[in-house]
Symmetry: D2
């Protein structure tokens, strides 16, 4: 399965620049120690090392933390091929194998298709070194207009 | 839709006690500031307040952190109705509304059904106070035998 | 988990009447032998008996046919609480137990939440008689404006 | 993202032969007019033309019928790389664009990964001719032992 060709009127470097600016404000991604390895329109690769504060009761990385890495890569990939902000609508993850303390995880995200304001992005999370696949993630995104919708604003009437 | 009746031979308090012990070793859940509100066989309620280090580029709580709260509640619910350790196989989340800095999120997890070694658990994440629904999560779990399978063990000391 | 309260300005009987009219034109649902048991705003119950032409290689009902029953109930439930046509955006199914030739399956659909133009509907498929749960389905819907978007129209007469 | 390399001890032609035998007994797939285009270990391509009895209320192919095509290809792909019968555990579909009466749909299934008795298979459904992507499907499978488990057999005590 191949990705769709980019739209003729698709943004190029300016969307990726917007993603970089967005990531500079992203305290959550920074707090998880997530590093950007590569960014391109519709693509993102990110990396995170499993710290002691990411390990859960079964002795392995918390599944939500693995998801968070994939989710950050998903957001960067789909925002990097869009003229306006893109939000995550839903996502699913299949955990293939556990990640352990000290493992460095690599998330590769590719926007598989875009239609109307919607998109589907696939992310594979693997372990750096042996390349073992750890998780498969699929996210669905929706582009919103530049003016935030009322339900996305805090403090006003809902 | 109602939950299935518990199996006649289903564990009671000892499974919930095992969940409590598991949570005491769960550094990731603790690091996220997740508190247990209530635990029962097949049910768990947990709470987390959105901190500055959980906010992302769009000015709202990172979607993976919302997922992590739901995932912790999922794990507690399904392990609390099982004789042996239960692992998450896959999960999906639909983000209904954004969570903001300072919001306290409440995750209510209910194991909807169990069949063979498999289970499906639904989690609703809402905002404390106005009760607004923020996300719907569905997780699929598999009970493993008490002896870890080789693929779950990592070579070398950790 | 309870359903959201209906919107104050929510449609009542006219939306359900629109669903009934829609179903009268739904050749696919009719060809599958799907019967409407009950319709209400945000809710639908449908029934289908597994015929010889619905059984697959493993000797059980084709998983896609079970999905189709759930999908028809999903469409009726969410259209019955909407002012305009609602389309399915994505859905997921977990098969809990097989259905066999001659079994009558009952799908109960409840629109769990609606936000903006989006909705999430849960469907449980069970076997009539013993009430055994056979599948859990979750669908995500989007309301479109009454005027079909260009991407939904196909060039040329049909 | 590439597929995993086949296991060293993986079955070859005999698994594909088993899939062909399975499909000969699959009345549901035949009744939907689904044709096999190509089969290989971990891969399957199938084709179906949208008939008048597959069209629903919105004037397009019933979403469950599109799902059924993808599901048949999923089953053939994952059974074609397995020593024993493989069952579908769960699946999700994103509908990208509608299919219309007379369209011929092509489903391309690739087993993305296999781990333990589990597997993940991705299916893309496109329209023959213009190749437009119509749906993305992801299925999770579990291999069962050759002896059916009691809960999978009909007629005995439940």
């Amino acid at each position: 399965m191949t990705s769709d060709p980019p739209d003729p009127g698709e943004p190029g470097g300016e969307a990726v620049a917007r993603v970089r600016a967005m990531l500079e404000q992203d305290a959550a991604t920074a707090a998880l120690g997530i590093e950007v390895v590569a960014l391109a329109p519709g693509r993102a690769t990110m990396r995170m090392t499993v710290r002691p504060d990411m390990v859960q009761g079964h002795g392995t990385c918390h599944g939500g933390i693995v998801f968070s890495l994939a989710d950050s890569a998903f957001a960067a990939a789909c925002n990097g091929r869009s003229r306006g902000p893109v939000f995550a609508a839903s996502a699913e993850i299949t955990w293939v194998a556990p990640a352990f303390l000290g493992d460095t995880l690599v998330a590769d995200a590719v926007e598989h298709t875009r239609y109307g304001r919607n998109g589907v992005t696939d992310v594979a999370v693997s372990r750096q070194g042996d390349g073992a696949l750890l998780a498969l993630f699929r996210g669905r995104s929706v582009q919103v207009s530049r003016t935030p919708a009322p339900r996305l604003m805090k403090g006003g009437p809902r």
